[in-house]
């Protein structure tokens, strides 16, 4: 019996249990305050008693049965002729399993075919045992739950306690994810650093993983140059001025139209930006470079990637600046205007200095987003690890290299593949630090004006 069918069966039994328990509880009702819980709660209580043991049994059996099937297959007379070599035997076995599951799978080894009937028989036998086990558990749980339906039984308390547990688990998932990220990155990075000196990785000037030299400084520089310098030169003035115009000058109606339009920029997928950067912006940048007399400019340039990335970041900077300007108390603005300052003087001398911490935090968040951005640099920035400040040069970034290292053919313990995780760890730590500092600044800044 397939797992889906079994799940369906358990759900059906649960539904029946729900209806039965509710009906019985309704029959118990003799008037106001005669029962502790409402019939619906009795229904849920019984349904959970049916479903939870059955599902637990199902997952336990799912973990257990492959081992049982395996030993049953090996005990079969057809398996006695298998070679004793582990490698060969395992390959034949895995082929036989795939044929047993999918009769259309290609057959390479005749020995594998001989095993198929044995595997099918074992699958069937243990599948049936498992299904029976699940059904028995469902009925046992259901019977126990059924005996507990009484007028004074606190079904609601139990059901709600379980739901609360579920809520708690859901909120812990965020911690599990964070821990998972840190643990997996640290683990792989640890293996990498046992093969390559950590100091050399962080300070080396030469990056060429194919030849075993892992100096990541050119990557760090490329990332900073593209994401934190070029992109910010584009995004900060445009984003800040847009925010100022929208909050201080534009009428409410214009703001209602312009702000969502500007936010479309943030909603466009990065792969579209990347394609646009590679197809349209990069040739323009190259033509511009040769026009100002740079010999042999490359098509892939830090400038093309940085420019497009900056445009992508504009709405981000703009909305952060918007928030922090809006948080400046109206009295400060009014005071300045009342002294005879023009609007622009008020903005430059009063609003921006007052909103500065928030704006700086916004820029930090924008930088953390820019340096983690992948598709634009993958499509437009190039693969050469250059340590130069020439914006027309091809330049590579941390994210580009992670993609490069992990999408080719990979063997899982080569330093080449593992170095991607080390780069990922550096990226994670840097963006996390930027975020934590920025969020803290924003929080303190908000408190200052409240």
């Amino acid at each position: 019996m397939s797992a889906a069918l079994l799940l369906f069966l358990v759900a059906g039994l649960g539904l029946i249990g729900w209806l039965v328990a509710r009906a019985k509880a309704q029959a118990l009702y003799t008037g106001r305050r005669s029962m502790h819980s409402r019939p619906v709660h009795h229904g849920w209580h019984l349904a959970l008693w049916i479903a939870i043991p059955a599902l637990l049994g199902m997952s336990a059996w799912g973990a257990l049965s492959p081992g049982l099937i395996h030993s049953a297959v090996l005990a079969d007379p057809a398996a006695t002729s298998l070679s004793m070599m582990d490698m060969e035997r395992n390959s034949i076995l895995s082929e036989a399993y795939s044929i047993a599951q999918n009769p259309d799978a290609p057959v390479f080894n005749p020995e594998a075919e001989k095993l198929v009937p044995a595997i099918r028989a074992a699958n069937q036998k243990f599948g049936a045992i498992g299904a029976a086990l699940v059904v028995i558990l469902a009925f046992a749980g259901g019977a126990f739950g059924y005996t507990r339906i009484r007028a004074d039984f606190p079904a609601r308390t139990y059901v709600e306690r379980l739901v609360l547990g579920l809520l708690l688990i859901a909120s812990l998932l965020a911690i599990f994810t964070t821990v998972g990220i840190i643990a997996s990155l640290l683990y792989e990075t640890g293996i990498f650093f046992s093969k390559v000196n950590a100091f050399e990785f962080l300070t080396g000037l030469h990056w060429s993983p194919a030849n075993g030299s892992f100096g990541a400084v050119p990557l760090f520089w490329g990332t900073i140059f593209v994401g934190a310098i070029i992109a910010m030169i584009v995004a900060i003035p445009l984003g800040l001025m847009s925010a100022i115009y929208l909050t201080q000058y534009a009428s409410a109606q214009m703001r209602r139209i312009l702000k969502p339009l500007l936010e479309i920029l943030a909603g466009i997928p990065t792969v579209v930006y990347g394609y646009f950067a590679a197809l349209t912006v990069a040739p323009m940048v190259r033509d511009f470079a040769s026009a100002i007399g740079i010999a042999n400019p490359s098509t892939e340039s830090a400038l093309a990637a940085g420019l497009v990335m900056g445009i992508m970041i504009i709405p981000f900077v703009s909305s952060m600046a918007d928030d922090s300007i809006a948080a400046v108390p109206q009295a400060m603005r009014d005071g300045s205007l009342a002294m005879g300052a023009t609007t622009s003087e008020t903005i430059k001398r009063v609003m921006i200095p007052a909103a500065l911490p928030g704006i700086v935090a916004g820029v930090m968040l924008a930088i953390s987003r820019a340096i983690g951005e992948t598709m634009i640099v993958v499509m437009a920035a190039g693969a050469a690890a250059n340590l130069s400040a020439n914006p027309f040069a091809s330049m590579t970034t941390v994210t580009f290299q992670i993609v490069q290292l992990l999408t080719g053919d990979q063997e899982f313990d080569s330093p080449k593949t593992l170095s991607a995780f080390a780069l990922g760890l550096v990226l994670f730590v840097v963006t996390l630090t930027l975020n934590i500092i920025a969020l803290r600044v924003v929080k303190r800044f908000r408190e200052a004006y409240e």
């Binding site: 709600e160 609360l164 984003g239 500007l262 997928p269 646009f276 197809l279 622009s344 994210t399």
Partner: protein
């Protein structure tokens, strides 16, 4: 007694004022310019994609799958991959995100553990997407041996990425429900749990859905984490199930953009149009939901 000359009327003063007003106008114009530059870039991007891609949009393109030949390649295979991936993502991220938001907003005690949960949710929302790809690769593929390139793993990875967004949107929506609703329910004898599930959650639902749709739209356009888990398979037939190798729309755009054959430029732009139409529809739905159901208390 002679009145002192009013300095405000003097030519020097008028000149200074004129200068200040000129600066004011310049500043305002700079603001307009910034918005115009940003929006004209957007217009340039959209128009150039439309111009290049609209010719490639025909029925064969919309129903076909990837092919080595530009003229026979289509997006349906990738679109179906996207659809399956999004199904997994929403099935995991929406319930988990909503439950976590309910816990944090309604039940969580004030202590260091809950602070830690909040900090990690806020940070996860800002972690680069490629890091989630590394997590998916290390955990789902290398540790649990789930099938590579499959919508299942892709959807799980994107669910981890989308969940914090949903939690944050959900908390804001729940926070916006006025306490009087809770007090009223509690006053007539509802338990805390009944109050939340029967009264607060339905009122917060439009806000939660709006946030979730926006989060899903972001996940739909995401490429980098899926690149990590190998969802760049060449798929000439649409994936039949959650564990089949498949590709997704943004990945198809990326793969075609890498083709040397110039004929793929049209395909790429056409696929971008398809993707943008999907995103536009999702965001439009979110805005519609917000306008239709938003209650100002």
């Amino acid at each position: 007694m002679s009145k002192p000359e009013t300095k405000w009327q003097s030519p020097v003063m008028a000149q200074r004022l004129a200068k200040r007003y000129a600066a004011e106008r310049r500043f305002k114009r700079l603001g307009v310019l910034a918005i115009l530059v940003s929006l004209s870039f957007l217009a340039f991007l959209l128009v150039s994609m439309l111009a290049k891609g609209v010719g490639g949009l025909d029925l064969a393109f919309l129903t076909g799958s990837d092919s080595t030949e530009a003229s026979t390649a289509g997006v349906w295979g990738a679109a179906k991959g996207s659809l399956l991936t999004m199904l997994v993502t929403i099935a995991l991220a929406l319930p988990m995100g909503v439950l976590a938001a309910i816990y944090l907003e309604e039940f969580a005690p004030k202590n260091r553990w809950v602070d830690l949960v909040e900090v990690s949710i806020n940070n996860l929302a800002a972690v680069p997407s490629i890091i989630f790809g590394l997590l998916g690769l290390a955990v789902f593929i290398n540790t649990f041996n789930l099938p590579r390139s499959s919508p299942l793993v892709g959807g799980m990875t994107l669910a981890l990425m989308t969940m914090p967004v949903i939690v944050i949107a959900g908390r804001n929506a729940i926070k916006a429900v006025p306490p009087s609703i809770r007090d009223a329910a509690l006053a007539v004898g509802a338990s805390k749990m009944q109050t939340v599930f029967h009264h607060v959650l339905p009122l917060a639902l439009p806000g939660i859905l709006t946030g979730s749709i926006i989060g899903m739209a972001r996940a739909l356009g995401e490429t980098a984490p899926l690149l990590m888990i190998g969802m760049r398979a060449f798929v000439s037939t649409p994936p039949a199930g959650l564990t089949d190798p498949s590709s997704v729309l943004p990945m198809q755009i990326f793969l075609w953009s890498d083709e040397v054959d110039r004929a793929f430029v049209q395909n790429t732009s056409a696929a971008i149009i398809v993707l943008l139409v999907f995103l536009l529809a999702m965001n439009g739905l979110a805005i519609y939901l917000r306008n239709k159901f938003e209650t100002r208390w």
